[in-house]
Amino acid sequence: MSIEVKLAFDVLAFISVMVLIVLGLGVIASMMGIFNFAHGEFVLLGAYTVYLFESFGLSAWAGILAAPVVLALIGLVLERLVIRRFYAAPIIAMLGTYAIGLVIREIVRGLLGGHYKSISEPIAGVFTVFGVDVSAWRTVIVLTTVCIVAGTWLFLARTSVGLQVRGSLENPNLARACGISTTRLYAFTFAFGAALAGLAGALIVPLYQLSADIGTRFLVQAFLSVMLGGVGTFEGPVLGAAAVGGMAAGLPWIVIPVLADPLVFVIALIIVKLRPQGFITQGRL
């Protein structure tokens, strides 16, 4: 019994991490049709912010709160200077964001000096449920993810800005004709996606050691999640992330770990091939 509960919790915790990372990527991909290759580096910058706060002797909590703000600002600047040139050309956007990611990653690698830094969990320790030790920090991550997903959904479904976002997703030209500034919305969306990535990075850095490649390991899985769930919806990428995260965390218990990793990709790709529109059909963010 206890092993099943432990497995279920591990899978749940990993799904939360995936959802947190994919949400920002999915929002950007849905709104602007850009697959942001620098997303992994936004996650890295979020993690790095927490590290900076810690090394200056400030509380890690302050770092976790600051990370989304810092990333939102960086996202805004990048959108202004670079990203907006790419809206018409998704492939060029991939190359451009890849270049941005490369620059950020290598700068951070230089700053870290190629070392791994471990960051302690702000809430350490475990507590016991059903006779199973549950890591407190992972529980915080799961709860935060639930809050973020619910909050984002409420924002999109219930506020007037959310309505504008949905409107310009469905028909940008009509939205512009109605007096909605899509340029401003796109800038806002990109900053929002970057902020989510920053928060994700800040939250997961205690689980994984901080290195320049912390974001890259999730990037391909995150892309597949968005494709799997369907671009252009809110629920799609979340569901996709749950599916990919569940497979990535669960498969190593079923098949040998060496095969599990590539198998996740193969299964996800085949599903995308068979159902290219994703789990949820387009146009319903």
Binding site: I100, V220, L224
Partner: protein
């Protein structure tokens, strides 16, 4: 950059009546070949530079392979290194387990491996009832490359994370190719042959179809061309070229590792191609030369060595934003960059 193809084609048709403009590209090609022929004699003092030059030749094959995909047929492949790496592994395993490395058999084997693997990928990614989105193809190739890297780095039989080292030397009869001038000329001959083949494809009627596809895929489909089949064909051929490059790399370095098939090398191929100028074939070769030589030179200077990847990223960003035709685009006109197709009509020019 996609829209330029069409204007150049029409410009070429309109220009038929006129005297053909002076052509620069053949001079660039000839000059490169000349330099490549002379280089080993000029460098004979420095064996490390001959090794570097050989490496550049081999990586140029990868760059050409990517150019066939992106520059000629508009397939964004973020996984070109997959075919490079897998062929390299196959060659290394054949050398290790079968003790066999005869040139006349192993190089065609590597080409076959690359061709079949790429064909398989193309069949999965490109063919099917519905035409795939470009994003799906780009992410599919990226995923394939990434998954293969992860699989290989955990697989003991192929050396796991350490890769396969001490690859059996390439042989022709009793002669063994070690690093040096002989291997250099072998790589050069292979490169020239592949280059001429790719150039022929680019300038043939097939190349014209590909140019049309780049500009307006839908229209070509309405004309009755099975667009996806053409893409699959070129993608497979590109895989073949990458496979050949991978085999030579494996023999030359005496080593092949998981990193040689991952997204890292795949994106390096993208950088080579974009720097030089995609779609020109010679551009990617020159891009490879520039990037690799600069990396080699700067590796000696400590201050620059550390920020070199950052500079590379910034230059790539600048190229993507401001000079999508690559550096060769500064020199040659659009018309010449896109090229001309088929045989010239006798009364035409």
């Amino acid at each position: 950059m996609l829209s330029e193809a069409g204007t150049a084609v029409t410009a070429q048709q309109a220009g038929r009546a006129r005297r053909p403009a002076r052509r620069l590209l053949p001079w660039v090609e000839g000059g490169t070949l000349l330099v490549a022929l002379v280089a080993p004699f000029a460098l004979s003092e420095r064996t490390d530079l001959v090794t570097l030059a050989t490496n550049v030749m081999i990586l140029s094959l990868l760059a050409i392979s990517f150019d066939l995909c992106w520059g000629l047929s508009g397939i964004m492949s973020f996984g070109q290194a997959l075919f490079f790496g897998v062929a390299g592994y196959v060659i290394a395993l054949v050398g290790r387990d079968l003790e066999f490395s005869q040139l006349w058999a192993t190089l065609p084997l590597a080409m076959l491996v690359g061709l079949l693997l790429a064909g398989l990928f193309a069949a999965f990614l490109l063919l099917g009832r519905k035409a795939p989105t470009t994003i799906f193809v780009a992410l599919g190739t990226l995923t394939g490359s990434y998954a293969a890297e992860r699989l290989v780095s955990g697989w003991q039989y192929v050396g796991a994370g350490n890769g396969l080292s001490a690859v059996k030397l390439l042989q022709l009869g009793g002669y063994e190719f070690v690093e040096g001038a002989a291997f250099y000329f072998l790589a050069l001959i292979v490169l020239v042959l592949i280059y001429l083949g790719s150039r022929f494809i680019k300038r043939s009627q097939l190349g014209l179809v590909l140019a049309g596809m780049r500009q307006n895929e839908e229209r070509l489909a309405f004309f009755g061309y099975r667009v996806q089949l053409f893409k699959a064909l070129v993608f497979s051929l590109a895989g073949m070229v990458a496979g050949l490059g991978g085999a030579l790399y494996s023999y030359h370095q005496g080593f092949i590792g998981p990193g040689n098939m991952g997204p890292g090398l795949s994106t390096t191929a993208v950088i080579y191609c974009l720097f030089g100028g995609s779609g020109t074939l010679i551009g990617p070769v020159l891009g490879t030369v520039a990037v690799e030589v600069l990396t080699y030179v700067l590796a000696d200077i400590d201050a620059i060595k550390r920020i070199w990847p950052v500079i590379l990223g910034l230059v790539l960003l600048a190229v993507v934003m401001f000079q999508p035709k690559g550096f060769l685009g500064l020199l040659v006109s659009d018309r010449e960059r896109i090229g001309s197709y088929g045989r010239r009509r006798s009364g035409g020019s």
